[in-house]
Every structure is written in C-alpha cells, then in structure tokens.
Point group: C2
Chain length 407, copies 2
C-alpha cells in the first residue's frame, strides 16, 4: 500500500507567494470563535482546576484523620462556590466537580461511609487527593491548548471554556465575493415546473456557485462570503462588478467563462495572472492577482469548479488566512495502536496521525470528561468488548485529515 | 487488520422500536432540499440530455456529408435553444453543452476545420455522434438518481438539477427541543472576564448544549432544533418545560441531571423508559418514550453527552426520520481498486465501499462534468502522474462513511 499525496500543483505556490495574508487580529469571546484562526498560541492562564475538586460524589474529609468519625457540617454541589473551611473532624458532602473546602483533601465515596445521625464513620485509611482532582490536574498553568494557525473547532471551544479561557485572539476572516456567470443560467428561486421546462430547452439551473458556497462553508470556515451574485456573460459588466467589490473583499471567485473560446470572458478582463492548470477537470482555471488579492476564474461546470476550489482556491486561502491546521470534523476510520480493554461501549480521545499508509489512532488517557488535551485530534468509538492493537475503528476527527497527512 | 464495527447498543433497538417514524411527505424545490430525506426513489423523468448535445466547441454537421464543405448558417451557444434546422450542406457553430440543430449529428472541432469565408472545409470522415453526447447519455429516462431514505446532499442537488429534476418528495424534518440543565451553568453571551472569574469559583460555561447542537447540524441535518433553552436543576420546572414543548416536537434532549444521585432530576420526572447504558462515558444516560416521542436524558459533561448523542440519539433519530444513508460529506482516505493514468492532477468520481478492513475507491467513468452517477459516493484526488491500484488516495465522501461500512 503506497500512500499518494495530493501533491500541490506547482503553479499554486506562485500565486500563494503573491497574495497578502491577513494581519488584523481580533479579540473575541471564545464561544463566538468557531471557524476563526488562532492568532497566538492559546495557553491556560492558571492551573485548572484551580483548587482540589471532587472526582466522586461523597464526603470531603481531612485524610490525616482517617479512619475516623466526622461531623457533616454542610454540602457543596458542583457549581457552588462556598468560602467555607472545615474545622477539625468536620466533613462536607460534595458532588463530582465541586471544589473541596479548605481543611479537606480527600473524598470518601458516599457508599463507603456509615451514617450516624449528623455524623459519618469512615472505616478505612484515605490518602491526600484520593477521589480528588488536584489543582492543575486537567491543565497546568501555561499549558498550550491551541496553537497559532489552528482553525478553532467546537471541540477547542468546549475545552477552552472548560478551563476558563473566555477570550481568544484570532485573525479576522477572509472576505470573498462569489460571482456566477453564464447567459444560460437560471437562478432559483423560480417555479420548479418552469425551471424543468427550461432545462429541456438547454438552460442550466445555477448550482455551481451553490456547490462552491457549500464547500467554503463546510471546509473553509475562515472565509466569509461577503457578496454573491449571478450574472450573464458580459465582460464589461463583470469588470464593473469586480471593480466595485474588490476594495471590500480579500478575494473574488468567478465561475463560468474561464475557458479560451470566443464566448469566454475571464481572460478578456486583461488581468495579470496565470491561465491554465495541469488538472482534469478544470484545466482552463485562471487566477489573477491584483494588489495582493486573488481573482479566481473557475469553470462553470460544478465538478470542475469544485476541483479548482480544492486544488487552487483553498491552498491560497489557507495561506491568506494563516491556517496551519484545518478543522472539518468528520467520520473516518483509523487503526488502533494499542489495546483498549472494555466491557462497555467506549468513546476515547485519540491522537490521529498518518504513518506508512495508515491513519493511526493512539488512545489518550482520559483525564477529564472534556477535550482539553492538545494532543487529541479525534475520538474513537470502541465497541462493547473492547478492541485490540491493529483493529480498525471508526473515528470522529476534529482536525482536517489532510493536515494529519502532510509531512 | 480486523475491522471493528461500532456495534449498536442492544437497548437502543428497544427504544427505536417504540418511536414513531415521520410520515408527512413534502414536495419541495430541489434547490431547497439540502439535508432532507428522500421519501421516494427519485428517477429521471426523461432522457438527459433530451437531444444530442455538443461535447466540444466546433461545427455541427451532418456526418454523412463528411468529408465536405459546409456553409456556416449560424451559431448556437450553450443555454441557447434555437428551433432551427440545418439544410443540406449547412453547419452551425456550437459550444460545449449546446443542443445540436436538427439535420446535424456530429461536431467537428473548431481547430480541425479550414475556414473559407462563410464556409468551412472538413477534410476527414466523421461519424454519427462524434464529439456529441447522444440523448440519454448522462441519464436515461427512469434511471434512479437517489434512493428513498437517502439524506439529500449538495452533490445530489447538483446532479438532480443538472438533469432537470426540480422538485423532490421528502419527509418533513424531525423537530427537537434541546434543554441544558444545571445550577452551575453560565449562559453566554456574558462579559468574558466575568465568566473567567466565575469559572475559578466553580461555575461552568454552558457548552454541552452547543456541542450537541453542532453535532446535530453537522451530521443530522434531518433534525431541526425547534427549541433551545438553558435552565437550572429544577425538576418541577423541567417537567413544565417538557410538557409545554412535547406537543410541538418529535423529541426532547435534556443535558445534565441524568445521573442517579440526589441532585439529579431526570429520573425524578417519573417517565417510563430506560436508565443506564453499557457505555463509557455516558453510562447514566436515560431515555423515556412518551406517545412515540423519545425524551433523552444525557450527561451534562460535553464528551459524555456527545457519546450519548452518537450511540443513542442518532440511531433513534435516523429511525424516526426514515434515514437509509446519511450525508456528512468529509475528507477521508481510500484504497484505489484500479490504475488511474494521468499526467495531470485529477478529480474523479468514485464508488466507495468498505471491504475486508479497507475503504475501497473504484473510479467511475466520467460521463459528465457533474455528479449524476447514482453509484458515486465520493470524489478521489489523483496527483499529477496518476496512481496505481492499491495506492491510498484522499477522497471527499458524500455519503456517511458509517453507511458504507454497515453490512
């Protein structure tokens, strides 16, 4: 099995070298940052949890007094913060996730105590941090959760919020104008029966632009479609539309009219750039660069235009948006690098990486019911009964597979 | 290499058997049908193309008169429909995609003719349908393009519109209410600095519901979130909210309070159903079914809730929405089953299927610059220089990988 890289087209590098990457950095609430590109490494500002935290429902006690008898002085539920201190011989009922009160350092599980009125009896010896997550257990201060250039995914957001990173610095999104051209195009909405009739007469219902828009929304969330238009094959009008929008966007994508024939118009715009790429379909794709802004001339055929987007527009846009690792979360399959013993169906974070023709999934030790591990790039589904090293399992990726592959 | 199926949890089948699938069928314009489930097999109502169509820019001629000299009587561009007939010895200039006029049956490429004023000279013999797509070449009348139960993807829409299928019958979407519960929850928007401070005091910024919402939007487009709410841990209030929304939705998803402890509330609702699944994390997940509508009680922890959605909510929702094949388009990799010779970078439709532990990609003969082949389930990227049988290539799937795997 030989792995074939989707080798970048050599002329794409020429374009990428001539475009102007985005420099504007915004600070925004983490919960609004989906699809933005991190402009800095994002680290944890403090140990998390900041204080010892219950890892089990039960009674918080001073472990040095176990075994022993404790008075139940109150309770602290998850999300409650009570500035209380347990006196000698006092305990507090705590639930998973609650911070322990000062004066306690271990949790005795609810089912392991004997209740005697207002008192509990602990028969065993407990040690410091038994059933407790110590400070920094999930993320020590300074740990990098997300690197500069990473497209922020929902998993990143969940992880960052969990440890209290509520603001992030991101690059502003690229702004793009998408212009579909073609005298033959019918633009929905239109009466469906009328549209069907027109197709039989040689008209084409505009869908190439919709496909490009879908790809951008699905896989290039760092691009914002600032303008969308459907127009006829009119070189002068196209020129006017491009000139009108270029000052407000970072790139223009034109579909249709990319070819070399008399009825094509992109080349008639007379813009400086490249014409023709060694790719099929989509060979007549053209790219111009005006003051650091690319203007892409894609085929009017859906699959050819999509090929142009994937081979040419996306790599250039990634360069402009400062993307180091994308985030199209998706299902794939992967080969386990270690046994996972389990009676139950499991869901495990994993590091996914491509090696010798295989996507490998290395299960990560679960420290936490979240996604804060910066090594994690996916979650694997383990069936009841467990799985063995070398088994193929289904994984939900939260990094772009293509980034896991590139050397 | 042993392939491990993400075996369905046995108790999920019990729930699936008790829910009521959607029966309402809507007719809608194809361009609005993204994410809906096809309610019928969708076939082509007529041969497509309906008439012989130029596959090359050039001159439409009567092949029986080649080699020969033709008068250029006019031109027909793609999207133009001209009810004209070529007289004996007449030709029309046509562009790719244009319907041929009556009286012609072949296209002589532009670069293969000699021009003599109003005439062209064709030196070679041409045969019927040379450089022409005959009627029905892309899709013969009656060909099934999409099967009942398939979630409609952008690729399906492009293909259906291309052949003039402008209306489709679909099942209405499922309606769901999503309720996040927890006294510890902070609900954005809120001042980020204040939120960070509250996290240090044990509060939790609501993100479990956002993660569930993201998964539904990304992978379950046939579900519409009709209601979203964040509330405290209050059994009576939760009961009121569920009762208020249940008549208007097909399912309710509650996050938080799913456990068995004193502070949990889902079990206190007293609804008939199942409690506890053999899965980790997410073991305390509960499901009740009321009049054919499931009410899911998921963990409040993001990863546990997501596990519950994937193992329990999604299979039940698929059953209710009549889904036979999902559509989360995504990048994966696949093993080629045949050589692809190519100097150029290529983009080929492929049939993807899972066999003996490998995802196999069988390149399909490209008949058309579109996606109309019902066998196609993805597009593979072939690098310049081509690829060989057994090579691993990158593929953009447009069917859910998990559907390709199931036996």
């Amino acid at each position: 099995m030989r792995y074939i890289e989707p080798a970048p087209l050599s002329r794409v590098a020429e374009i990428a070298a001539r475009v102007k990457p985005v420099e504007d950095v915004l600070t925004m609430p983490t919960w609004d940052a989906l699809g933005y590109v991190a402009a800095r490494d994002i680290g944890v500002p403090h140990d998390y949890p900041p204080r010892p935290r219950a890892a089990y429902d039960g009674y918080a006690v001073d472990s040095s007094l176990t075994p022993g008898r404790f008075k139940v002085a109150g309770s602290i539920l998850v999300g409650q913060y009570r500035d209380v201190k347990a006196g000698p011989g006092e305990s507090f009922y705590v639930t998973v996730g609650a911070f322990l009160p000062d004066g306690t350092d271990a949790v005795v599980p609810e089912e392991a105590v004997e209740k005697e009125g207002e008192y509990i009896v602990v028969r065993q010896k407990y040690n410091r941090y038994d059933n407790v997550d110590p400070p920094g257990a999930y993320a020590p201060k300074g740990a990098v959760l997300l690197k500069k250039g990473y497209v922020i995914s929902i998993f990143d957001i969940v992880g960052l919020l969990d440890v209290g990173v509520t603001k992030v610095k991101v690059f502003r999104k690229l702004r793009a104008a998408l212009i579909s051209t073609g005298d033959e195009l019918i633009k929905p909405p239109i009466d469906p029966d009328e549209a069907a009739e027109l197709v039989l007469r040689g008209k084409v219902i505009e869908s190439t632009g919709s496909l490009v828009e879908w790809y951008i929304k699905s896989f290039m969330p760092y691009v914002e479609l600032a303008h969308r238009e459907v127009m006829g094959d009119d070189t002068e009008e196209l020129k006017r539309v491009i000139e009108a929008h270029l000052p407000n966007v970072d790139m223009v994508i034109v579909t249709g009219g990319a070819g070399p024939s008399e009825i094509d118009h992109f080349y008639k715009l007379g813009l400086p750039g490249l014409r023709g790429f060694r790719m099929k379909p989509g060979r007549p794709t053209s790219v111009a660069v005006v003051e650091g802004k690319p203007i892409f001339g894609l085929s009017g055929y859906p699959i050819s235009a999509l090929h142009g987007v994937i081979r040419i527009v996306e790599p250039v846009a990634r360069r402009m948006a400062n993307v180091a690792a994308g985030s199209p979360s998706a299902w794939t399959y992967a080969v386990l690098t270690a046994d996972v013993r389990s009676d139950m169906a499991q869901f495990l974070r994993a590091k996914l990486e491509y090696k010798d023709g295989e996507l490998l999934a290395t299960p990560l030790k679960t420290k936490h019911h979240s996604f804060t591990d910066p090594e994690a790039s996916g979650i694997v589904l383990i069936p009841p009964g467990g799985a063995k090293k070398g088994d193929v399992v289904i994984a939900l990726m939260y990094r772009d597979l293509r980034d896991l592959i590139q050397p």
